[in-house]
Protein backbone atom coordinates (compact mmCIF):
# COMPACT_ATOMS: atom_id res chain seq x y z
CA UNK A 1 0.00 0.00 0.00
CA UNK A 2 1.34 3.41 -0.95
CA UNK A 3 2.57 5.76 1.74
CA UNK A 4 0.46 8.72 2.81
CA UNK A 5 2.61 11.09 0.78
CA UNK A 6 2.24 9.02 -2.34
CA UNK A 7 -1.50 8.66 -1.85
CA UNK A 8 -1.81 12.41 -1.33
CA UNK A 9 -0.11 13.04 -4.66
CA UNK A 10 -2.18 10.38 -6.36
CA UNK A 11 -5.50 11.77 -5.16
CA UNK A 12 -4.34 15.26 -6.12
CA UNK A 13 -3.47 14.08 -9.59
CA UNK A 14 -6.87 12.40 -9.92
CA UNK A 15 -8.67 15.55 -8.84
CA UNK A 16 -6.76 17.62 -11.39
CA UNK A 17 -7.24 15.08 -14.12
CA UNK A 18 -10.96 14.90 -13.49
CA UNK A 19 -11.30 18.57 -14.21
CA UNK A 20 -8.88 18.38 -17.11
CA UNK A 21 -6.46 20.65 -15.34
CA UNK A 22 -2.83 20.07 -16.11
CA UNK A 23 -1.06 18.06 -13.43
CA UNK A 24 1.82 20.27 -12.32
CA UNK A 25 3.93 20.33 -9.20
CA UNK A 26 2.40 23.65 -8.09
CA UNK A 27 -1.14 22.40 -8.39
CA UNK A 28 -0.40 19.21 -6.52
CA UNK A 29 1.25 21.28 -3.81
CA UNK A 30 -1.76 23.57 -3.61
CA UNK A 31 -4.14 20.66 -3.19
CA UNK A 32 -2.04 18.99 -0.56
CA UNK A 33 -1.68 22.21 1.38
CA UNK A 34 -5.41 22.89 1.20
CA UNK A 35 -6.04 19.44 2.63
CA UNK A 36 -3.71 20.24 5.49
CA UNK A 37 -1.31 17.48 4.59
CA UNK A 38 2.41 17.33 4.87
CA UNK A 39 4.38 15.48 2.24
CA UNK A 40 8.08 15.27 1.53
CA UNK A 41 8.88 18.04 -0.96
CA UNK A 42 10.14 15.78 -3.70
CA UNK A 43 6.86 13.88 -4.22
CA UNK A 44 4.78 16.49 -6.06
CA UNK A 45 7.57 17.23 -8.50
CA UNK A 46 8.16 13.54 -9.05
CA UNK A 47 4.52 12.82 -9.76
CA UNK A 48 4.11 15.86 -11.98
CA UNK A 49 7.05 14.82 -14.13
CA UNK A 50 6.03 11.19 -14.18
CA UNK A 51 2.45 11.94 -15.14
CA UNK A 52 3.24 14.73 -17.59
CA UNK A 53 3.63 12.37 -20.49
CA UNK A 54 1.07 9.85 -19.43
CA UNK A 55 -2.57 9.46 -20.29
CA UNK A 56 -4.07 9.20 -16.82
CA UNK A 57 -7.39 8.16 -18.28
CA UNK A 58 -5.91 4.97 -19.62
CA UNK A 59 -4.51 4.09 -16.20
CA UNK A 60 -7.93 4.46 -14.69
CA UNK A 61 -9.57 2.26 -17.28
CA UNK A 62 -6.98 -0.43 -16.89
CA UNK A 63 -7.20 -0.77 -13.13
CA UNK A 64 -9.07 -4.07 -13.34
CA UNK A 65 -6.92 -5.50 -16.12
CA UNK A 66 -3.80 -4.93 -14.05
CA UNK A 67 -5.01 -7.36 -11.40
CA UNK A 68 -4.71 -10.45 -13.56
Amino acid sequence: MASVSELACIYSALILHDDEVMVTEDKINALIKAAGLNVEPFWPGLFAKALANVNIGSFICNVGAGKS
Binding site: L14, D18, A35, L37, S68
Partner: protein, 115 residues
Protein backbone atom coordinates in the same frame (compact mmCIF):
# COMPACT_ATOMS: atom_id res chain seq x y z
CA UNK B 1 -15.05 11.66 -9.23
CA UNK B 2 -13.32 14.75 -8.07
CA UNK B 3 -15.52 14.79 -5.00
CA UNK B 4 -14.51 11.29 -4.01
CA UNK B 5 -10.84 12.00 -4.66
CA UNK B 6 -10.92 15.24 -2.69
CA UNK B 7 -12.86 13.55 0.08
CA UNK B 8 -10.13 10.92 0.24
CA UNK B 9 -7.47 13.61 0.20
CA UNK B 10 -9.14 15.43 3.08
CA UNK B 11 -9.48 12.16 5.00
CA UNK B 12 -5.78 11.46 4.48
CA UNK B 13 -5.08 14.67 6.30
CA UNK B 14 -6.36 12.93 9.40
CA UNK B 15 -9.84 14.31 9.13
CA UNK B 16 -12.00 11.21 9.15
CA UNK B 17 -15.19 13.11 8.44
CA UNK B 18 -14.43 15.92 6.03
CA UNK B 19 -17.14 18.51 5.69
CA UNK B 20 -18.37 20.15 2.53
CA UNK B 21 -16.40 23.23 3.53
CA UNK B 22 -13.15 21.25 3.77
CA UNK B 23 -13.66 19.75 0.36
CA UNK B 24 -14.60 23.04 -1.23
CA UNK B 25 -11.45 24.57 0.17
CA UNK B 26 -9.41 21.83 -1.43
CA UNK B 27 -11.04 22.20 -4.81
CA UNK B 28 -10.88 25.99 -4.65
CA UNK B 29 -7.13 25.86 -4.16
CA UNK B 30 -6.81 24.84 -7.78
CA UNK B 31 -9.82 26.68 -9.06
CA UNK B 32 -12.00 23.63 -9.53
CA UNK B 33 -15.72 24.13 -9.17
CA UNK B 34 -17.78 22.07 -6.80
CA UNK B 35 -21.39 21.23 -7.35
CA UNK B 36 -23.09 21.36 -3.95
CA UNK B 37 -25.62 18.60 -4.54
CA UNK B 38 -23.09 16.08 -5.76
CA UNK B 39 -20.68 17.08 -3.03
CA UNK B 40 -23.24 16.57 -0.30
CA UNK B 41 -24.28 13.24 -1.73
CA UNK B 42 -20.71 11.93 -1.75
CA UNK B 43 -20.14 13.19 1.76
CA UNK B 44 -23.32 11.64 3.10
CA UNK B 45 -22.45 8.29 1.53
CA UNK B 46 -18.88 8.22 2.79
CA UNK B 47 -19.32 9.99 6.07
CA UNK B 48 -18.35 8.04 9.15
CA UNK B 49 -17.25 5.06 7.15
CA UNK B 50 -13.78 3.85 7.77
CA UNK B 51 -11.95 4.80 4.59
CA UNK B 52 -9.75 1.73 4.64
CA UNK B 53 -12.78 -0.49 4.80
CA UNK B 54 -14.28 1.26 1.81
CA UNK B 55 -11.07 0.82 -0.14
CA UNK B 56 -10.77 -2.82 0.87
CA UNK B 57 -14.34 -3.48 -0.19
CA UNK B 58 -13.74 -1.76 -3.47
CA UNK B 59 -10.62 -3.74 -4.22
CA UNK B 60 -12.44 -6.94 -3.30
CA UNK B 61 -15.15 -6.11 -5.80
CA UNK B 62 -12.63 -5.32 -8.50
CA UNK B 63 -10.75 -8.54 -7.98
CA UNK B 64 -13.85 -10.67 -8.28
CA UNK B 65 -14.94 -9.17 -11.57
CA UNK B 66 -13.37 -10.13 -14.90
CA UNK B 67 -11.31 -7.51 -16.68
CA UNK B 68 -14.14 -6.34 -18.92
CA UNK B 69 -16.51 -5.78 -16.07
CA UNK B 70 -13.81 -4.10 -14.06
CA UNK B 71 -13.38 -1.52 -16.77
CA UNK B 72 -17.05 -0.71 -16.36
CA UNK B 73 -16.77 -0.59 -12.60
CA UNK B 74 -13.78 1.68 -12.67
CA UNK B 75 -14.91 3.71 -15.65
CA UNK B 76 -18.23 4.45 -14.01
CA UNK B 77 -16.87 6.28 -10.98
CA UNK B 78 -13.95 7.16 -13.18
CA UNK B 79 -11.44 6.78 -10.43
CA UNK B 80 -8.85 4.25 -9.28
CA UNK B 81 -9.43 1.43 -6.82
CA UNK B 82 -9.85 3.63 -3.74
CA UNK B 83 -12.97 5.12 -5.14
CA UNK B 84 -14.37 1.81 -6.38
CA UNK B 85 -15.69 1.09 -2.90
CA UNK B 86 -18.06 3.99 -3.18
CA UNK B 87 -19.04 2.93 -6.68
CA UNK B 88 -22.44 1.60 -5.63
CA UNK B 89 -23.13 4.78 -3.71
CA UNK B 90 -21.81 7.14 -6.30
CA UNK B 91 -22.87 5.01 -9.26
CA UNK B 92 -26.20 6.70 -9.66
CA UNK B 93 -24.97 10.24 -9.74
CA UNK B 94 -21.94 9.36 -11.85
CA UNK B 95 -24.05 7.36 -14.23
CA UNK B 96 -25.37 10.40 -16.01
CA UNK B 97 -21.92 11.89 -16.50
CA UNK B 98 -20.12 8.75 -17.44
CA UNK B 99 -22.93 6.94 -19.16
CA UNK B 100 -21.87 7.96 -22.63
CA UNK B 101 -18.24 6.98 -22.32
CA UNK B 102 -18.69 3.87 -20.23
CA UNK B 103 -21.58 2.54 -22.25
CA UNK B 104 -19.50 2.22 -25.36
CA UNK B 105 -16.58 0.62 -23.60
CA UNK B 106 -19.00 -1.60 -21.69
CA UNK B 107 -20.52 -3.07 -24.80
CA UNK B 108 -17.25 -3.71 -26.55
CA UNK B 109 -15.32 -5.12 -23.62
CA UNK B 110 -18.22 -7.08 -22.21
CA UNK B 111 -19.10 -8.94 -25.37
CA UNK B 112 -15.50 -9.52 -26.26
CA UNK B 113 -14.82 -11.33 -23.01
CA UNK B 114 -17.93 -13.38 -22.78
CA UNK B 115 -17.85 -14.70 -26.31
Amino acid sequence: MRYVASYLLAALGGNSSPSAKDIKKILDSVGIEADDDRLNKVISELNGKNIEDVIAQGIGKLASVPAGGAVAVSAAPGSAAPAAGSAPAAAEEKKEEKKEESEESDDDMGFGLFD
